[in-house]
Assembly symmetry: C2
Homo-oligomer: 462 residues x 2
């Protein structure tokens, strides 16, 4: 790891240069230090200070650094830079970050900015920001290198040198024809490993993985992951190369997917835009959570109906009420645990549809062992510690066995339900994560109460 | 996307070639088609068929394809290949996959294999497999390119051509001295963009991000993500370059982190090795889940103590029992939702420690709105639908208001507890995800029952 103190040294060095160094040294440091750390440093400064530091840089360096700020910060900074300087920085931003920033400008701000941009940048940003953000088009960048199929390696390298002055990495070189239709890929390594007179046509690989510009971005991330790609080319319906999505996007998409899964699992409707927790309004939060909460509260009223049905038993044996919450809680914990483990196994492709019997049998065995522990604990508590007076003819040992047995069965049935529900949802073609924890806990509450009271009522009438 | 039908075409093409094509065409196809798809195809064949196909390939191609199988599959295949062929494939595997496979061999199998390997491979695999799997050393590969600082660009490119025949990508070139101490980085792009006579010393960047061989692998993934790296160099304590961790590892680590978080959140102890759900034994599953389940069951007995304390109230007003499960369930859902949202916001760096007041106030407002919905629902249910006979002097409207109010307060308090617990854990330096859902639901069960019965008992004595 670049140690904490080494990072701090770096930040201190930058601070020292800003205060005492000459312009050339400052420019060199900001250009060469890892950009993420440069940004860490700049974030300790005020916005006007950030602007004056960026003004010292070459436009290309400033654009690269500016691309690393998050979009909201970029917007705030843009409001205090003069139009001319901002359009220079904007031009040299990474094309995907640039399009994201353009998308959050208001219509007026966009119209204001466009005349300051050169034609190429203007067209690029308009095209990119037109794509829906959930698609490959919405996340792709246009910073890639192309060569023509009839070129020699020497000509190809010359074109790359000419076209690609930016710091953005070049790894795959995309082979296209005169219509920008994508024909294949060659790596920069292959180009330099070959004889300069070799023709690209003999060397390139015409079998390549690509994304369509309308593909869902989670599918694109999946492709990048499956093929271990540094970047995936994006084609339109005419098979023309229009952009690339790089591996770092894949990580961001997977992180967002993770949030969505966890929230879905808790019965929270995923948010459409990607505002952070504090930026999202109270009303938005409310709307995303109310549906499940109210539905499950409604379904929970069913548990009240069950208790009402067994009211006589409860009144006769008030000790049953003492263990009701523990019954439902244990069932909820058990069911959620089983569901979590199964949902993750499905997500990581560890189990097939045909494995469902194996899974349920496994949960049966695991929960059998667990049921002994929990049931035994309750039995001991009732027999040893309970001071609860009991009706005539019933001993603590007897009651303890009944309640202990009921809890044991609850543990087993909750595990089966918790594991089974996601499997069932997937079998029906849905997303297993939707078999959300609240749905499972509510279901096992109901089945748990039924088990509890039917065992108790049968046992007492004996 | 490479469409479903296109992938199927590819697989059909491979099948056709295997059955009818000549050796040269087969070798070319298996070498050029995307490796992940080649593996998809091979996984449709029996293990003996896979071996005979691999035997047709150049060792280098076979090694690359073999690296893409998961480790368990590699092991199964290794048991039916002859030692000589297997050692050839093994030699040409990616060094990190190779070390992973070596680690799961038994001591006897390892001892059996080593004599068949050349010295370089033998040393490499022994060194790599000695590192703990959770560290940078345990996941790194040794497939990287180095050049010396005093070389010209031309000499550097010549060395790269000589050293790096494998398909593994070369993007960063690591600049080292004669002791293999790492001095800096240069990209292959910079090398080709420069004059062949330029010296590396003038061009390379001596500011670079690196990992230490003992660093935790999740920290390594975080560094790769933060700096958008294609690969991160790994150094030992002498600052010698010993390996690299590439971006695709980062994605795997982040996925595993995801599983771990979700399981931690459900009170499941994360597994040390990474076996899939079905491969993990019943006993292992049991051990990972029993602790939390029993602890929370024990804590849940506290709820029984509370009910016992208020037993008189319950006996007097048995209608209270009907809404007890709904009370605890709603509190659990609410608390888990709040905790999920806050834990994710923390994980995505959206909130700082100092934001805790803002977060609790926000949850207060959100839960206030939600409490109206749920409390109102219960009130209406009791007033309109309840056929429960009530003691003298108490109307359904009165009881409905009491229980509705109690549930409303439960919603608000559960949200505060659910949001507050992760924040508190983080403030104390722990991992917020440990403020697990079962802990939260059990806590709000207890606070919920206290709220419920104290309101009810106060209201009736009026």
């Amino acid at each position: 790891m670049v140690e904490e103190y080494e990072v701090q040294e770096l930040l201190d060095k930058l601070e020292e240069l800003i205060n005492f160094g000459d312009i050339e040294d400052i420019k060199e440091a900001f250009s060469e230090f890892p950009t993420a750390h440069v940004v860490d440093y700049l974030l300790t400064k005020s916005e006007t200070e950030i602007i004056s530091i960026l003004n010292l840089m070459e436009h290309e360096v400033a654009g690269r650094i500016f691309s690393y700020f998050n979009t909201d910060k970029q917007y705030d900074l843009s409001k205090i830079i003069d139009r001319r300087t901002f359009s220079d920085i904007f031009t040299y931003m990474y094309s995907d970050a640039r399009a994201d920033l353009f998308q959050i400008l208001s219509k007026e701000e966009q119209i204001e900015l466009l005349p300051f941009l050169d034609k190429k940048t203007r067209e690029d940003v308009i095209v990119l920001s037109a794509y829906p953000p959930e698609t490959a088009g919405g996340i792709m960048s246009t910073d890639f290198a192309t060569i023509l199929i009839h070129m020699t390696c020497q000509q190809a390298l010359a074109k790359i040198r000419h076209d690609a002055p930016s710091q953005k990495m070049i790894y795959y070189i995309y082979v296209v024809n005169d219509n920008m239709e994508m024909l294949g890929i060659i790596t920069i390594k292959d180009l330099i490993m070959s004889d300069p007179k070799d023709i690209v046509k003999e060397l390139y690989n015409d079998h390549f993985v690509y994304a369509d510009v309308n593909d869902d971005r989670e599918d694109v991330a999946g492709q990048i992951e499956k093929h271990d790609l540094v970047a995936i080319p994006v084609l339109n319906s005419l098979k023309q190369l229009v952009g690339i999505v790089s591996h770092e996007e894949a990580i961001d998409i997977i992180r967002a997917e993770h949030t969505e899964d966890m929230e879905k699992f808790m019965g929270i409707v995923p948010s459409i835009d990607e505002q952070g927790y504090l930026e999202t309004t109270t009303i938005s939060h409310f709307k995303r959570r109310v549906a499940w909460l109210v539905i499950l509260a409604g379904v929970g009223l069913i548990s009240g109906v069950i208790i009402q049905y067994y009211q006589g038993v409860l009144e006769h044996l008030i000790i049953l009420a003492l263990y009701m919450p523990m019954m439902t809680a244990t069932g909820g914990n058990m069911g959620s645990q089983a569901a979590t483990v199964v949902i993750r196994a499905i997500a990581l492709d560890q189990i097939q549809d045909t494995d469902w019997i194996k899974i349920l049998l496994k949960e049966l065995r695991i929960s059998f062992l667990l049921s002994f522990c929990v049931g035994g604990l309750v039995f001991l508590k009732i027999v040893i510690f309970s001071s609860q007076p009991l009706p005539q003819g019933l001993s603590h040992i007897y009651i303890g066995s009944i309640i202990g047995a009921a809890i044991a069965i609850q543990v087993i049935s909750s595990a089966i339900i918790g594991a089974g529900l996601p499997l069932l949802v997937r079998r029906l073609g849905g997303d297993p994560a939707v078999a959300a924890s609240p749905a499972i806990t509510t279901t096992v509450d109901i089945t748990g109460l039924l088990i509890y009271f039917s065992i108790a009522s049968n046992a007492i009438s004996i």
